[in-house]
Amino acid sequence: MEFSFDWICQYVDPEEEASAVAERLTAAGLAVEGQEVRQGDVIFDVDVTTNRPDCMNHLGLAREVSALTGKTLTSPDTDILEVEQRTADVAEVELQDATGCPRYVARVIRGVEVGPSPEWLVKRLASIGQRSINNIVDISNFVLWELGQPIHAFDLQKLSRAKILVRRAREGERLVTLDGEDRELDPEILVIADAEKAVALAGIMGGLDSEVTESSADILIESAHFDPTRIRLGAGLLGIHTDANHRFERGADPEVCRLAADRVTSLVAEIAGGQVLAGAVDVRNSSLDWQLAGQLDLRRASTFGGVELDGEQAVGWLEGIGFEMEAESAGVWQVGVPSWRYYDMRPDPTRPAGEPQPAVFEADLFEEVLRLHGFDSISSTLPDVGGPDAGSSAGHWRREGVRRHLAICGYTEAVTFSFYDAEAESRFPGIGRQGTPLLLANPISELYTVMQRSLLPGLLEAAEFNLRRGAGSVRLFEIGHLFPGQDCEELEAVALVAGGGMGTAWDRHRDYDLFDLKGAVESLAARFGLELRFRPADLAGFVAGTGAEILAGDSDSAVGYLGQLAHEDAAVPLFAAELRTDLCQPGAVQAVELPSRFPAVEVDLTLTHAESTAWADLADEIEAAAVQDLVEFGLEVRYVGEGVPAGAVNTTLYFLYNAADRSLTQEEVNERHEAVRHRLADRFGWKGST
């Protein structure tokens, strides 16, 4: 928001350069983000935060400058020469919605001469980028930028029965606004009406029919206060943003209405002539209590700030920005909050405007003192709360474990968006899906409309991105939340996508296959002491016959799945897995099993069996045999080809025998091994194709 330094100096003489003032304002929370010299003036670009509508005008900024520099603030002049006729005799104001409009001040000036503005006024407005329209409109605009109070001027002749009625719009009521738009209104919208119809959008924009034109002679000045929520609602419904509603939405100063009306009136009389009717029609909702007060204890403020504050200085600062300080005891004051800080400092914003507010939070007062003191000179300390907190969380520990494990396994971590398009939703099985997915009401694009129920669509896209750029292989993983459906808790999962050959012939690498991927998944599970089982399954998005559901422990419900992706366009076959990670819990620490001090004996076994016999069945059979001193067994080679009957396969396994207390003799090993061999041969041995 732009402000003129020269204009600010109209109310306070800082006796400092613009840049020094800019620095002071920035240090006090009114960030001057730009300074531009324009025609002998310096224009400040100030980032006024939403809680400080009182500083969205020149007097407000001047007040801050006055408090920061200790220089005197001079309020603008409102001398008016009035005629005998009273405003109340010619105009009537009625607040039908006194919540939406708790105060309305009207003044009337008759016989004005609408025309161009004097040069000083044109220049003032031009300095902050405002265009001159005519003297009446310009004065209204000037006062908005001077006092922060939005003003509207009506052509009194065009108000039916010179009546102002503040009410909600009627169903289907229409109004052509100043910008020429013919708008249909809604009963949520607050309007200014005359005896017949709506003539302005309250606090937002005037109507075209009642606006002041060159032919206007008698004008009615509106200086009112509107409820921020009501204005925000209306402006939102209509999609309008003006300087007026910007201020009302953030909370204007309820007590400035009369002053602003007088200020406009005095300027109109001075610039456009005319006769000022006596007094104003000032209707206010008498139940409103704008009083806000609290207590400032300097000792507590110093503790809160971590800085030794000086009482005299603190009082000077607060009084400088309009707070009323009444000493209660040593270092303790009763503090009255100025009306322009009402909305910012009311302790309970949810309480209706009419109800009295409790005492102001002391932190609000601390904030004022501390920001005017500046944060720079506050010394740095560490909280003295005694003892550490709980440290890492189980979730964080688990995620880090999964991440590091997969990185060691050669997988690169990806991060993809948590939403995808409607098509992606049905591509893969997902985990724990229930009912319909969560849909975004205002997605940023059609590509991001559904909250993910699988990490694979995003991760596969990342894999494709790499392959398209010439990568011969990919290995990616991602950990993220799944959103299984309405009323379902979010689920954390990890997904892997891999494929292609790593490295060159020199590197002796080979093409990645499903069992490389499976090995990564199994080793991850093993890291968390988890044993997985794999059950063949027909999975959406996977090549038939390659998919499997992943089962953990004794449970029969899948915790994940893996397989080869059905993905015809890919340069290399891709394999993928998705697995929930909540199973990966930190298990109880287990003592290690000490290895035998005696040598182990390794024996191979080759079994010819039907191709249809699953490895899991062989493994289960060996486990079931509970062979004495067998410490390990595994797959050595699978062979199909010369010497192996059609429909059969040769599986060579290794067996490692080792006793804890002695060296096994060859006879002992042979005896144990023969028993296994017979057991396997009896159950699975090739008996010719049947």
Binding site: G29, T303, A363, S379, T381, A407, G410, A414, F417, L440
Partner: protein
């Protein structure tokens, strides 16, 4: 032995030694001259008993000299042969040790998560714990409890992504602070990392990004404590000579609130394009927890105070790794990701 005889033997030995080409020649020479059974030296010594008494002494000395000469020369030849043998063996086993080693294929962690881990480590060191929460939130946790009243313009700054069921994607990780405070009474020190979402999409904004927020609540926690904590944090995250500046600002959930600047990590404060010539870079938002927020979480603001801060992790990752566009973080280009050292 006469001097002539000795000289003859020595000359004969020298001539034969000159013919030695390999280990077999050397062995034959050794056996012929100093072999235990029929070596020439041995047989000369055997003749000693027949030598007249008065010549015995000379003869003995002569043989011993010969023996000395033979042994010395044999040792020399042995050393020469060994040298040759070693160099031959070396030649046979030689490899080009400058050939590339075969690297195990290691993965890497995402830059955003590396930075997150770094930040979490720093705060665990300062005595904090990690807290987490859901990414789909309700209005109460994301806004209302944080002192964003309904229909308040402060909500405009949040560009919220809403779900069709009325809930929303959290716009910051602050709801985790609320959930933590609703669960426990002070003292509280937590750090809350996670994904957050906004309705925003351009070179500098991504609809999904990462934040870490910290919260400390206890008796007598001050603005100075916030300042000290942020300095300790920033000095560890960037470097100990990084300048830290707090500027008063506004957030609904803290008061006073501050924008926190650090000296620009690119120009070290001299002013450059990245920091628009100011020498400073805005890096996080912070403040003392608003008493309304404490009350909303059933914590008595007249007893307890606290501070909170929030930081965009993606931005730190971009600064740290020199990544100019936030979207590049989510392209997941392995050529880029593999350069990030764990």
């Amino acid at each position: 032995m006469s001097a002539d005889e000795l000289t003859r033997h020595q000359e004969a030995f020298a001539a034969e030694a000159a013919e030695v080409r390999d280990r077999a020649d050397w062995e034959a020479l050794r056996v012929r001259w100093i072999g235990r059974k029929q070596g020439i030296v041995r047989s000369l010594l055997a003749q000693l008993k027949d030598v007249p008494k008065e010549e015995k002494r000379d003869f003995g000395q002569g043989v011993n000299r010969l023996k000395g000469t033979v042994e010395a020369r044999l040792a020399e030849l042995d050393e020469e042969l060994s040298r040759t043998e070693r160099s031959l063996a070396q030649e046979a086993a030689a490899v080009d040790v400058t050939l590339p080693g075969r690297h195990p294929h290691l993965g890497t962690l995402h830059p955003v998560n590396l930075v997150t881990q770094h930040i979490v480590d720093i705060f665990i060191g300062l005595g904090y714990s990690v807290a987490e929460g859901p990414e789909v939130e309700d209005d109460f946790h994301n806004f209302e409890a944080l002192n964003f009243p309904q229909d308040h313009p402060a909500r405009d700054t949040q560009d919220t992504l809403f779900l069709e069921d009325g809930r929303l994607l959290r716009t910051h990780t602050s709801p985790v602070q609320i959930r933590t405070m609703l669960k426990r009474q002070p003292p509280i020190r937590v750090i809350c990392p996670g994904r957050v979402y906004r309705h925003d999409n351009d070179l500098r904004h991504s609809p999904m990004f990462h934040q870490v927020e910290g919260l400390a609540v206890g008796e007598g926690i001050s603005l100075g404590d916030l300042k000290g904590t942020l300095e300790a944090f920033i000095h560890r995250l960037f470097s100990p000579d990084t300048g830290v500046r707090l500027r008063p600002s506004y957030f609904p959930f803290t008061e006073p609130s501050a924008e926190v600047d650090i000296t620009c990590p690119f120009c070290r404060g001299d002013g450059c394009q990245t920091c628009s010539g100011t020498g400073w870079m805005e890096i996080l938002g912070a403040g003392m927890v608003d008493p309304r927020v404490l009350e909303n979480c059933n914590i008595d603001p007249s007893i307890y105070s606290g501070f909170a801060f929030g930081l965009g992790i993606d931005r730190v990752a971009m600064i740290r790794y020199g990544i100019p566009n936030i979207r590049m973080l989510f392209d997941n280009d392995e050529r880029l990701l593999h350069q990030v050292r764990i």
